[in-house]
Amino acid sequence: MKKPLLEFTGKGIYCSAADVYLDPWKPVDKAIITHGHADHSRWGHKHYITHLRNVPIISQRLGDINVTGKEWGETFTINNVKFSLHPAGHIIASSQIRVEHKGEVWVFTGDYKTENDGISTPYEVVKCHTFITECTFGLPAFKWTPQKEVFKDINQWWAENQAEKKTSVLFGYSLGKAQRLLKYLDTDIGKIYTHGAIENMTEVLRPQVDFPETTLITKDTKKEELLGNVVLAPPSAHGSPWIRKMVPYVTASASGWMTFRGARRRRAIDKGFVLSDHCDWDGLLESIKATGAEKIICTHGYSDIFSRYLREQGYDARTEETQYGEEEDTGSREAEVATALPTAGGAGA
């Protein structure tokens, strides 16, 4: 039997014809990387290939690595297999990977979302025969509200807290969500302060996107100057000694998981905003349809449920185990993860 173009192995998604891995979770010689979240771009590969704009991101996180940058749609051939990167709209510089060999086309999405967030290059439909899709939010319970409305709520929340003389602490992953929040916070209300992990990543991205001004919180930052302003912090800061400086404060989290009432309460957060960098139910179904693919492989998320539904809709769909999306719902220690724990997960939801 002919070997499939992409296989799911113990190290990651493998293209044997080119001897290259896509977002591998174990160290390999050659890795094509979709985006900068820790569960997709891990330590220890000899050679990284990724989008040009992702180069500074993964360099910041992984340090001194051997990396080659590519443009959107630029075809590069390895052992007669044609590869190209296409925007995934998940976070800044996130790609889908298109793989073509002997007329057969596969697309691996990494993580993606269909809504244009205004800072990531918008998701592009790539026609293919086999579509490897994430399904982090592959349940009909997930339906996103347009971000314009969510940001209206977020800014209103900030203004209300300010009226009560409280500091607004907003949690979001230091890569992706934090910048998306930053871009749309209303600076007419007040100043935007940042946690170190977010400040560092934002600095890396400033050449690519026009962000409002931020002030890094240091040990010299006075408690009084924070009052009424907003603080962007990674979820891991919740409950840490660092956050005590913000007293009196109100916390909020912006994530797709905030759809569930229980999720907010389990995390002991005051307010939840439903804002995700992944597709919702309809987004997944529409993109799958648009690719024209007949074979669908569902990776991380509610993959068993989602692939069963796809089969009922007439697709040849199955599930494959990967190590993506580990701890996406907490994204807990992503800042530390990137530097200290190369095998643990931590990505933006």
């Binding site: 349940l139 009909p140 319970a141 997930f142 339906k143 509200t145 979820p235 891991s236 919740h238 409950g239 759809t259 569930f260 009432r261 229980g262 907010r264 309460r265 389990r266 995390r267 002991a268 005051d270 307010k271 939840g272 509610y302 449920i305 069963r308 539904y309 009922e312 580990e326 701890e327 907490t330 807990s332 220690r333 095998t343 643990a344 997960g345």
Partner: protein, 590 residues
């Protein structure tokens, strides 16, 4: 009926009954949904109380009564069964039923799942909460197609949160961390009526469909003041050696009973049973009605409600069967009757005697107990006897003399002349189903709240067993990003002789933060399956689990219930084969 007409009638109705309330009213379902949302979106008690108080200040009269009813679990009966709700919701959401069920399994709440899967709607409603509830009451008798039409109509026009609240009103109670106690506090804040009096007013059977806010809450009755309890005095656990407490002769000791701390008050031929959380629980324990007539008016007893199956003190597990039941069946009353183990007297002959020395109060309590134990016949008591016999459907054994069995026991004072002697009695605690000893300074008054110095808890050392970690769940608060809530299992033999692990307890405390992080990291890498927030893990780690008590239980898979299980230490030196068996655990039952 038009909204306006309804309002006119409402006011007319109020005029007929008492003073009308012309405050600015907002009696829309929208307002109620907003209240629920606020209550649900904070963990802070003060904010909840304030939100409820604000609501009570501006909600319409009938909506207020309904809100009180809903938050005190007095919902109208469910008009549509959940099978139909699930079918209809998946139909309207245009998804297969199995997918709805899977979503429900993950979301964990039926009303929330329904609200989520049905396409969202920007519109809203002007109908009042009362109107919705009246419609729901009427709906119960309607044929299925009308029920379906009603649900569709409302599901389609309500926005997401209102749809959730609407469906919740149909399916069940709101779990939003609002106890009756908290609601009563808010009501007290809004009406400036004493909280204990409101607690009394809200007791018993009242029908939200028939009673007005005026009648239920505002009208003043002399009898309201009858029920007022004294604040409880709470003890701390002993911190050092008992010897440090000084002269042994200054102290009185008794067993520390493991039940519900309660205050029972008799005034004006009425009885009031209060729990430590200052909730009125009179209706839950009808046994104590036998006190009326047997115990004189103007008495307040501090003690412990204990289960008394088969004529002896049971375990807390027995009591669990009674806790949380609003109404008690005859069968349950027979199977798990309760008694009051009395240990203090706070009011006697109508006087507050809390300033008296403890031993003096105990003397009066002893006197009271003996007058009840050796009763002189009187007519009221005979009536009480008949009452209890009807309630308990005559469990009176022939071995009991004709004297009425009053469920009042005295918490015996332990006589000891040295701390060693006291320690010996403490060692016997498990045999008598107590948690250890209580030490009380003989000359101490009855204080308010938790105060150090005069009362000490001297608990027995816990039992321990080595168990295997099998499931893990995320923690709460600052631990919410770690897996810190664990389920533990013990070995058991299957019928075919194979060994299997059987779950026996959950625990979420006892490790250091560093240990929790280590275990958390291991769990994330060794997950077998995920069930919502819960993960099953490869059996690998052994932990020593400590617990206070143990009892046979039909409700637990292992057949055993443990009390206050917690992690004592991580036994990294042990392999799972060295963990204990279920038999080892059962052998601990005395």
């Amino acid at each position: 009926m038009s909204k306006q007409l309804k309002r006119v009638r409402q006011i007319a109705r109020l005029n007929g009954r008492g003073r009308p309330h012309f405050a600015r009213n907002d009696d829309t379902m929208k307002h109620f949904a907003q209240l629920i949302k606020t209550l649900d979106s904070t963990n802070k008690t003060n904010i909840k109380v304030q939100a409820l108080a604000d609501y009570f200040n501006i909600a319409g009269e009938t909506d207020k009564v309904w809100t009180i009813a809903i938050l005190s679990h007095r919902r109208p009966p469910r008009p549509v069964n959940t099978t139909l709700l699930r079918e209809w919701a998946s139909e309207l959401a245009n998804i297969p039923l199995w997918l709805f069920e899977e979503s429900y399994h993950i979301v964990g709440d039926l009303a929330e799942t329904i609200a989520l899967v049905i396409p969202s709607n920007p519109s809203s409603t002007e109908k009042s909460l009362t109107q919705f509830l009246e419609e729901m009451i009427a709906l119960k008798k309607k044929p299925d197609d009308e029920k379906k039409a009603y649900l569709y109509e409302n599901w389609k026009v309500l926005d997401y949160y209102e749809r959730f609240v609407f469906t919740k009103l149909i399916t069940g109670s709101f779990r939003i961390g609002v106890s009756q106690k908290l609601m009563t506090r808010a009501l007290a804040k809004a009406t400036e009526i004493d909280e204990d009096i409101l607690a009394y007013k809200l007791m018993g059977n009242w029908n939200p469909d028939k009673i007005s806010f005026q009648e239920l809450i505002l009208e003043e009755n002399e009898s309201d003041y009858l029920s007022k309890p004294y604040p409880f005095y709470l003890a701390y656990a002993i911190e050092s050696e008992v010897n440090d407490l000084g002269d042994v002769n200054d102290w009185s000791a008794e067993h520390k009973w493991d039940g519900i701390r309660s205050q029972i008050i008799l005034r004006n031929d009425e009885i009031f049973v209060w729990s430590r959380g200052e909730e009125l629980i009179t209706d839950k324990y009808p046994e104590f009605h036998a006190f009326i007539g047997a115990i004189p008016n103007g008495t307040a007893i501090d003690g412990e409600i204990l289960p008394y199956p088969k004529g002896e003190i049971g375990t807390f597990n027995d009591l669990q069967k009674r806790i949380g039941r609003k109404t008690v069946s005859k069968n349950l009353l027979k199977k798990v009757p309760v008694i009051l183990k009395a240990y203090d007297l706070l009011e006697w002959e109508g006087d507050d005697i809390r300033e008296m020395a403890f031993i003096e109060r105990r003397k009066l309590l002893g006197k009271l107990f003996h007058s009840v134990a050796e009763p002189v016949p009187n007519p009221t008591q005979a009536a009480a006897k008949r009452a209890i016999e009807t309630a308990v459907s005559s469990t009176a054994e022939t071995s009991v003399s004709s004297a009425v069995e009053i469920p009042l026991h005295l918490s015996e004072t332990i006589h000891f002349t040295s701390w060693e002697e006291a320690a010996k009695e403490r060692g016997r605690s498990r045999e008598v189903h107590s948690e250890g000893l209580m030490l009380k300074r003989k000359d101490s008054p009855y204080l308010v709240g938790r105060k150090k110095g005069d009362w000490w808890k001297w608990k027995v050392d816990p039992l321990t067993i080595d168990a295997v970690l099998t499931y893990a769940m995320r923690g709460h608060g600052r631990r919410s990003n770690l897996f810190t809530d664990y389920t533990f299992a013990l070995w058991d033999n299957k019928e075919n002789g194979e060994k299997e692990l059987v779950t026996f307890a959950k625990a979420y405390s006892g490790l250091t933060d560093a240990e929790f992080r280590k275990v958390d990291n291991w769990i994330k890498k060794n997950t077998l399956e995920r069930f919502g927030p819960v993960r099953s893990v490869t059996p690998h780690h052994v932990f020593e689990i400590a617990f206070e008590g143990i009892a046979l239980s039909k409700r637990h898979k292992s057949g055993v219930a443990t009390r206050f299980p917690r992690i004592l230490r991580w036994r990294q030196d042990k392999k799972i084969g060295e963990a204990n068996s279920l038999k080892d655990l059962k052998d601990m039952i005395v």
